[in-house]
Each structure stands twice: as C-alpha cells, then as structure tokens.
Symmetry: C2
Subunit: 404 residues, 2 copies
C-alpha cells in the first residue's frame, strides 16, 4: 500500500529560478493520482532532520506560480554537507513520515546527499525514489549541457559588464569586476557576452581554469590601457596561482572556511581591492575601480532568462515524471538537441555526485584571457529573450577652429 507522500527540498546557494523547479515538482506531483501529500522541507536537509516540513498540498496553484517567479529558495536553503551519519538521520525521518519520493534541488554536493540517502533506503529495503534536480549558478555539474540558474546569473553578469563597459568608456580608467565561481569559470566568462563593439570591454577575462600570475596580469592591463586608454577586466573569485592557492587567501587576514573546508570567497571585496591596488601602485594608473558582484549576481530580482525559467520548471516536472513512471532514482540532466532546444534524461546519481565540471578548453581562447566563439555560441541562446542592447553615437568630428 502506497502512502502517496512526496518530499521536496532546496539546497545550496539560491538562484533566480530555483523556485521554478520547486513549482515544477509540486504542480506536476499534484496532478498524479498516486500523490496524496506534497511536503516541503524548510532549509534543505537541515529541515529534514529537524522535521520542519510545510504541506505544499495546501498551497494555491496561483501562489505557487507567483513563488516560481520569485528568486531565491522559497523553502529556505542550507550549507550543511551531510556525512553518512547525517544521511542516516535524514533517512530515519523520511521513513517515519512514510515518504516515497524524495526530490532535492541542488548542486553537486546535494546530488551526493541524494546518492547516500538512496543507498540507505536500498540497504533498508525501503522503497524510496530519490531524485536530484540540478541547480547551480556555477554551471559545474557534469553530464549537463548547462544547469538551471546559470543562465540567469550569466545574464546578470553580461548585463553588468555591458553597463560597466559603457561607464568605463565614459570615464576612462581601469575597472575590475569580480565574479562568483570557485573552480568553474563559466559565470565569469559570461562577461564576454556583454561585449558588442570591437573595442568594448571586458578586454581581459581571468578564469580559475588557468593559473593566475600577477606579473602577467599587470602586463596584460598595461598593454590594453596603452592601446585603448582604458581597460575593463572580468575576474573569477576563484583565481589561484600555479600551485592552486587562491589569490584571495594570499591576502585576507581571517580566512573563513565553509563546511566543505573551502576558503570563503564571496561576501568580501578584498580580491577586487587587491588587484586595483596592484594596478594603481605598479602601473601608476590613477582611475582604477573595483566591484565585487557578490550576492547581486545570484539574487537580484528582475534579471532572469526566460529560457532558464522554462528549463528550471521542466527539470522539476521531469523529475516527478521519472519518479512516477520510471520508478527509479537518478539525477535529471539537460541535453542540448538543437540551436536552440533541449531535452532531458535521467542519469545515474553516481555520474553527477560530488564531481565538478570546469570550462572545456575549446571555450577558452589560447591567450587565456578571453573566450572563444564556441563559448559565445554556447551561451547566447541561454540568456533568453529581451537582452538589452547598447548603442553609441557614430563619429562625425567637427573641425577645430582654435587648435590644430
């Protein structure tokens, strides 16, 4: 006899479209006659072990649609990275509540949690379907063409650099914009899509896929500045030297580490400030400005890709369909099938769990400070419709009267 109970939760960093996936799960599940109750856990796995559930069956479809269009995890999220014991706790709660389907929307750490919980259920011979629904602005899940959340964040970054380039052209100098992404440079590389005219910035892009050398950086900036009288630079927060030590940890006083032992990179302007200081002092350029896009790039309300919204909704819907009809666990993956169309498939949890995709070599220019056309072609359709466009006055110089 089936309980008809499903549970959905959201983990890791929020995105602009993570609630689309939530809505996809909830609305699709509520259409199935086998589903009696749809629970949501507050703050991810933390809410599961605390039995902090909300009954989403009692929510109106209308409000779910409204929430779907709202950025950031509506159920709340967590940075907890469950170990085996934690996962045993999770499983105990799922069992106690007779949950039959568990959907976890998150990144590669979340997929690993789903895998361990699935193993627990298997070992206990408890019929639990465990589905991982992809989400991450970093675009670092293997086996996916791209991940929901990345396109909207990429759109923010592209729009930010399009604007920063115009600002920098108006008041020339050096501009450094620091973008999120510890190991994968996809989001930083999206800055390139803010470029329209040949002399537009970003003129230099520094990715964690290439070792960062401060001397080489200064030489790059100097040469661009001498050529154009200005320089717009996109930098990943995760840049590191040849030995893999993050640039940030070479200067921050108090290194904060997360549950995964990683150095906390976001939430500080230190990296931008360091690089600006280097440019000012070593190159003697006066107007040097640094911005750290910080949480704006993943949380800003009102900057979203409609393609991303659609796909994030569908991965949630598909997860329910796989669980209901396929009756097995796995991770939903996006496959590109046209220019531009996608389809979905279920991949084994082992294929995704705790693995990290980084930018493919074909996406990075030989210089190491630019992207390729292959990357532009890859990213452009993801940004969606209505991308703002920048125009400039054409040169119609007037002859001087007083001077030659």
């Amino acid at each position: 006899m089936s309980s008809g109970k499903i549970l959905v939760a959201q983990g890791g960093g929020p995105t602009a479209v993570i609630n689309q996936s939530l809505a996809g799960v909830v609305l699709e599940a509520r259409r199935h006659r086998d589903v009696q109750l749809v629970y949501g856990a507050r703050h991810g796995v933390r809410g599961i072990v605390d039995e902090d559930f909300v009954d989403l069956t009692r929510e109106t479809s209308h409000n779910i649609e409204m929430v779907a269009n709202t950025p950031s995890s509506a159920l709340g999220s967590t940075r907890d990275k469950p170990d085996l014991k934690y996962c045993q706790e999770i499983f105990k709660v799922l069992q106690a509540h007779e949950i039959e389907h568990f959907f976890y929307i998150g990144g590669n750490d979340s997929s690993d949690t789903v895998r361990i919980v699935r193993d627990q259920a298997r070992a206990a011979n408890y019929p639990l379907r465990c589905l991982h629904i992809p989400k991450t602005i970093d675009n670092d899940l293997v086996g996916n063409d791209h991940t929901p959340g990345f396109p909207s964040a990429a759109r923010f970054v592209a729009q930010a650099f399009a604007g920063a380039n115009l600002d920098n052209a108006s008041l020339p100098g050096v501009y450094v914009g620091v973008v999120m992404g510890r190991h994968a440079g996809f989001l930083t590389a999206a800055a390139a899509l803010g470029k329209k005219f040949a002399d537009d910035g970003p003129h230099l892009i520094y990715l964690p896929e290439r070792a960062f050398d401060i001397g080489r950086f200064l030489a790059d900036v100097k040469s661009t500045y001498e050529r154009l009288g200005r320089c717009v630079i996109a930098v990943s927060e995760g840049i590191h030297d040849a030995s893999g030590v993050p640039m940030l940890s070479q200067l921050a006083k108090d290194i904060e580490r997360d549950a995964h032992g990683n150095v906390q990179l976001s939430g500080t302007g230190a990296l931008a400030d360091l690089l600006c200081e280097e440019v000012k002092s070593k190159l003697g350029i006066k107007r040097v400005r640094g911005d750290t896009f910080g949480y704006l790039q993943r949380s800003f309300i009102g900057c979203v890709s409609d393609v991303d919204q659609r796909e994030a909704r569908e991965v949630g819907e598909k997860a329910v369909q796989y669980a209901m009809w396929g009756e097995h666990s796995g991770s939903v993956a996006i496959r590109r099938t046209g220019f531009y169309s996608v389809d979905y498939e279920l991949q084994p949890l082992e294929a995704v769990a705790a693995k990290t995709r980084t930018m493919e070599d074909e996406f990075i220019a030989p210089s190491g400070t630019d992207v390729t056309d292959a990357f532009r072609l890859y990213l452009r359709p993801l940004l969606g419709s209505g991308m703002p466009d920048a125009f400039r006055l054409r040169p119609n110089p007037v002859a001087k009267v007083l001077k030659r």
Copy 2:
C-alpha cells in the same frame, strides 16, 4: 545675425537615463528652424577646451533614439571641476565656434560651471544662453522634487535589496549592502522600497544624514539578529562619525581624493568589509556577508525606470524650449504636480549651483535607521512600472512524527 549653433555636453557620473536628456536636446533642437548645427562635446568640459566636438546634426534620429535607451554618457564624461581660468578657456572656444546655446547635463558642480561660463559671456557682452540640465543618481540638487537618473538607480537599489533579502532569508545571517551617496542618503534609503512583508529586510538603514556610531550599529544588528535570526543592512558609503569624518577614511590605507578634494568612496569594498569584520568579531555571528553595489547601481544595463526615462527626455527638451523661446539662461527643475505627475520650470543658476540637498528630516524615521511612509510615498511612483514583486509560500506546517 545668428549662427544657429548649439553645443551640448555631459558631465559627472553617468546614469541610466543621461542619454535621454541628450536625445531630448538634440531632437528638440533639430526641430527648430533657428538651429543650424548641433554639436556635442566629447567628455564634457574637457572636450570643450580641447575642441573635441562631434556633429550631432549628422546623426540619424533613429540612432539617437537607440542611444537614448543606452545607459552611460554617450558623449563621454569628465570629473574635471573647472575653475575660473578653465571656464575662460571654455568660453573662448564657444566664442570661436560661434556657439549661441550651451547645454550642460550634470549635477551641482556642472551647474556651477554653467553659471561661471554664463558670467564670462555676460562680461564679454556675448549673446550666449547657458542651460543646466539636471542629472545625478544622488538626488542632491536643490530646487528639484528629484533629479533624472536617481529613480533608475533607486530602482536598482530597491531590486537589489529585495533580492538580497530573499537570499538572506534562504541562508540566514547578516548582510551588509553598501550604496553610493556621499552626503545625501536618498539612494541608500531606496533600499526600503525592496521591502514587502513586515519581517523583510532591509532591517536597518544607515544614512549620511545621521552620525554613525559603531557601538550603536552593533547594538542595532544584535537586537535584529536576536529577533529574526538574520539581519539585512543598507549602508551609505558616505556614513561618517559625529565629527564628520567618513568611516571609510578611518581604515583605508591610501586615501584617494578627487578633483574636489573629496575622499574617493566608491570602487572599493573596504567599508562593507570593515563593517562585516566588526559584526563577526564583536557579535560572534558566523555568516556575515558584505556587498558593495559599486558601479553596478549606476551603470547596469536593463534596469531603468520608465518614469525616469520620460522625465530625463523632457528636461532635455524643455531646456531647448527655454533657450529658444525664453531667451535666458538657467537650470531646468522638476516640480511635482500630482500623484503622480510633474512639470518643469527654469530656476536661476545661482539657486542650484554648487549647493547640496540632503534628505529632509520628514523622510527619516526617529530611530535614524529607517525611512518614513512619507519617503515611501515620495519614491514609489518614481520607480516606474513593472517593478518585480516577491512572493513567499504560506505557512502550512506539518506535524512532527519523531520529535516534539
């Protein structure tokens, strides 16, 4: 005999709609039969003394409309603050090119430049009409209900805080967002418009109109954090202690000063980092994140108020009409005439020049860390149509099975 030549230039920090004012001037001027040629100076007053002009009469109307919708000064801008000698140079060039009308789009420093140039022309008995067209994201021009550029930047700040609040609710902690504004807190106060539900952030707003005390700040944060388990804070980059010393200059190593002798506040994340460090070390709160909105708030492409666009266009148009039909110099000002409508009038240059408006007391709550309803009513119509809205799931708690 009239030369029929006009000159337009843009000064100071770019805004999202400064090109609307440029388009207003150019398109309106080209309709007047008395106008033969419309010149634009590249990079503000700097381009005037360098005779670096473009002939805007040769630009297509269509491209001018496209440029009008593009943020950041299309003619380029400058931070030069002309003294008397510099203004004499400007006047010499205007005379040599037989310019009859000079339009300068800028803030209070720009209006002062217009005033001095007008005085030069008067003294030389040269028939020059000098019009200042208001622009500044700081909203600090006296005699104006508000200034073009402010509403769009305010919209960015409101949207940023609406999103940051959702992010912070999802992953609770303390969030500090630093907003531009040296003396006037209007833009920082706009963060309040990102708030929807009673427990939404920003929970605390620090304005340059009130002396900042770090002890009081920590007490405010502590009390909010204890009450809600999280705290979202909006801080003006211009906050200073009771003696007027900017908080930033109390910690930055190399203080950069601009042409006006002011400490460079933007382009560094130092203030946010300092405040976060204080909260972490003094209050023992682990998850503390700081963002500095930096140049994004004035340059981000794709975040603009349609009301701001319309008004920025009109102040440019009106400037030409005042010059052509009123035949006198002055500064165009926005007056509010309804909820919501505006009209324009020409005020004497002396009334605006080099003066700074700050937030009126009636806009600041007695606590000093919030705005009043009067401010919300003042700002809301300026943000324009299509403001994104945030929705949340309603509480439908599920009974616990394992725990009490």
